[in-house]
């Protein structure tokens, strides 16, 4: 498959990238790891005149300790996110989710920022980022702004990042000592989530003190199961089913070859229970 021809630009700083984008207007597309953009170009679902590769902007890569939070550069590849000790210690849920994405090759190329801006509802990073109360740093011609994860995802493939803007950083409040689990339901191992549930909990004396639950592919955007989070407070491992029963309430999941909406709703409740249970175990 051959994409339509385009000009390739490779700025080395965020400033340069922004000015290149401003100049190109509507005709430019940002390239991160290319794991979603390249298939789109090759299948000719999109044919931008310019492709602006962020790959040479070193500043966008890596994980920093920001005190009460971790700051993850948008261009940090999945494989670095998973391998990072800070992430594993303070945002275990993200590591658990990212290690289920596709396969090793794709995790070496695909980036956390690219996946978030792409905002595929079946993508695995939206739910954990949402559950962990992350904040996104977006820069554009008008300067830098921060967007809470709850306001970041607008719709299918639509986020708060506008044309000519870049996502530069993902800030995740530390969840040190929280247990976490990502229950991803697929038919074959390299598949996108049919449904997945991201759960992280703080356990005190055998029962849940705080819980965060995010849902993947249960609607046009990743969702937070806040009612479940509240119901879980005070639960012990044996009493999770009731608290998780409402996991699918208010969701509007898709129907496709892998399952209809009702089946997905059912899965969401089972997977939520399982994810919370595993999260409690560590």
């Amino acid at each position: 498959m051959i994409p339509a021809s385009f000009d390739y630009l490779a700025p080395t700083s965020v400033e340069e990238a922004l000015s290149v984008l401003a100049e190109a207007g509507d005709d430019a597309k940002v390239l991160a790891g290319g794991q979603s953009l390249l298939p789109i170009l090759r299948m000719r679902l999109n044919a931008p005149e310019k492709v602006v590769d962020l790959g040479r902007i070193e500043a966008l890569r890596g994980v920093r300790d920001g005190g009460d939070h971790l700051a993850i550069g948008a261009m940090t590849p999945y494989s670095d996110v998973v391998a990072n000790d800070l992430v594993r210690e303070h945002a275990g849920l993200l590591a658990r989710a990212v290690e289920t994405v596709a396969d090793p090759q794709i995790r070496h190329r695909g980036t956390l920022g690219g996946a978030l801006v792409h905002a595929d509802p079946a993508g695995d990073v939206g739910a954990p980022v949402l559950a962990l109360d992350a904040t996104m740093v977006v820069v554009g011609p008008g300067g830098e702004r921060t967007v809470p994860a709850t306001e970041f995802f607008h719709d299918l493939f639509e986020t708060a990042v506008g044309d000519g803007e870049l996502l530069t950083e993902i800030r995740i409040p530390k969840h040190t000592g929280w247990g976490s689990a990502y229950e991803k339901f697929v038919r074959v191992s390299h598949q996108w989530s049919i449904v997945a549930v991201a759960a992280t909990v703080r356990v005190e004396g055998g029962s849940i003190a705080e819980a965060r639950v995010g849902l993947t592919n249960m609607g046009n955007t990743p969702l937070r199961a806040t009612a479940v989070e509240q119901a879980l407070v005070g639960s012990s491992a044996s009493g999770l089913a009731d608290a998780c029963a409402a996991a699918a309430e208010g969701t509007n999941p898709p129907s496709d070859l892998n399952g209809d909406a009702d089946y997905r709703r059912h899965l969401a409740t089972v997977l939520t229970r399982r994810a919370v249970q595993k999260a409690m175990e560590g």
Partner: protein, 826 residues
Amino acid sequence: MTAVDDRPTTEVGRDRRRKEDQRLITGRTRWTDNIQLPGMLHLAMVRSPFAHAKILSIGTDEAKASTGVVAVYTGADLADSQGVNINAWPITPDQVTPTHLPVPADRVAHSGEIVAVVVARTAAQARDAAELVDVDYEELPAVLDMKEALKDEVLAHPDSGTNKSAFWKLDSKEQGSGGDVDEAIAKARQDGIVIEREYRQQRLVPAFMEPRSTVVDPTGEQISIWSATQVPHILRFAIAATMGIPESKVRVIAPDVGGGFGGKLQTTPEEFATIAVARKLGKPCKYTETRSETMVSAHHGRDQWQKLTLSAEKDGTVTGLKVELLADLGAYVAIVGGGVPVLGAWMFNSIYKFPAYQFNCQTILTNKTWVDAYRGAGRPEATYAIERIMDELAAEVGVDPIAIREKNWITHDEFPFTTVAGMTYDSGNYEAATEKALELFGYEELRAEQKQRRESGDPVQLGLGVSTFTEMCGLAPSRVLGSLSYGAGGWESASIRMLATGTVEVVSGATPHGQGHETAWSQIVADRLGIPFENIEVLHGDTQTAPKGLDTYGSRSLVVGGEAIVRAADKVIEKAKPIAAHLLEASVDDLEFSAGQFTVKGTDKGIGLTDIALATFAAHNLPDGVEPSIDADATYDPVNFSFPHGTHLCAMEVDTETGATSMRKYVCVDDIGTIINPLIVEGQVHGGLVQGIAQALWEGAEYDEQGTLVSGSFVDYTLPTAADTINFVSEHTVSPSTTNTLGTKGVGEAGTIASTPAVVNAIVDAVRHLGIDDIQMPCTPERVWKAIQSAGSHQAAAPVADAQPHFGDDAPNQDPAAGSTDGAAQ
């Protein structure tokens, strides 16, 4: 019949690493798409997005003006020069066979059909220009569902007047190979058991690794065609037969070919179009498809509805089997498309001694991608249905699935055995394979665990699936093919060239596409002629070096092509013998040949075969009247099919909360006669198993109401990877074939044929106690979960003691829980 050869062997039976693997695995080889010719042009195809439409007009001006474009051709432009896709097996004299032009001019009959060809200096330019071709279509109503198509209300091809292509029947009473099936069923309705089921064989995509590619060089005395095909010889024949080019002017080369699974046994629209364009322009041309194009334009496999009526005595002794098939051919009757379901005619009775049998097959045209052979071709479909229904019989009688099979199978002392379908199985031992499999599997322990899980109400239930299969392969005795109106023979040819310097060329007409022929043939010839394995070169796949052949499919290469090689080798020895006698100054009658040496009996005088090759090359001192060559050719026409068999056992865990299934254990004991190379066999078995398991669990080509293939990429067509499979235990028993010299049987398709029912039987077995007796393939978690849900909800209605399900007028008589969620257009 040939007696099985029991000469000692040093190479046969050895697990040689495959000679060809280094180049195949690294890709540093001659894949068709790697071929670059000077001045070569590139093609891109414009394809119909509609399942059925009239082509009103095609605007090519903009495309022609695009950078690098040399020409744009429509069907009208190619009309008289493009040949036609052939059907080589009209199953009845009155079969409806719509003309299948490579590039139709006025109507498309499935989405993905080619409507225009763009030729440019680079592949990218051709692709860019293809976007600019402006086709004006008038959509026509499309018929997508087989059962709808039967009604002939909407026609796939309006001119044909019907969607019914052909009806084919085999009746054991009529042909004198058994009793009257209707009588058997009527009797069983009085005092026995009648089981009626309808099973669905979903459509599959053959998903070979290398996309198809064709390069044509029209310059030179012969037009040269490289193609990623399983069938270079058949392609050459088809070109000559339909394009008006003398066969002697056509050279076809299948260089290294990256898999086929039947998917490359077609002569394709893309091949014909590339040839037509190259001839028009007088320049070398290349066309390589994208994976998205493969999915819609390379032929699909399976796609049947299978109605079975099985009659038995109360103790489970089967008295009759009646089969009614509906087989979707898609939009056109492919090269052997009509014949594939018919191959099931001899296989539904499988390893069993059914006294009465009837097979009915209706082939149907729809506006979907054409359907043809896919690994197993007709036999997996049959095996699935019979092995599923034997489990249902076991459940009805209340015995273990193994016991019901033992009661009905052919015992080892009954071979050779002529079946109710009229096939004569030469050898086999179902008891031995089953016994070994049960032991390796730990059948009793797993049954105990199943019982315990049921009793404790474990959310994860365990099921055990049995599949005792046989198949007919080694296609095929030419006379049998003739009696079935097949358009060719089933022989295979081989040549052996003894080179002066001691190495040997083995030329085979069976063209591999990943099977490992070069290694296996070398092993056979090494033993036969006493030549070191390394000194043997296997040549194939080029009609200039291997002019005669019928190619590779139907697990035929070894049992037919291998036998041709054995015979050519024996002829070499025969031809060398008088020369040896002459050089040794001995009588021919006093010579013995062993391990590459002729020796004079009772003396230490001898001469090596390679020395004779050199002496023959020099030709200075040959006996009078002997030609200076010990090279030999052989063409072998098999006397019978090959009947491998085996017992496959599968344990599946079913998560009743989600419907997810996971494989716990898989054991197979296959009897494929003599094994030439155990490593190659292991590879064939493993790959075959995964493909069969994939039909049971993962794969399915699904269309929407518009006739668009929804599972048109590997995102939705869920092919498994190694990460989705477990370690298989594969072992063998050996009942040598009595119909070829080496005692071999085919193994290329066995795993695929056997595994599908083993898996589905295991899943159904895991949830049968919940009131479920079928789940449609692929057994997705959603289908399994829904089956459990609906079984649970109507379980309250107590089962009537001896109620036996009967077919309704139109609805498939499936368990309502079977989850018919095949999309609107099944």
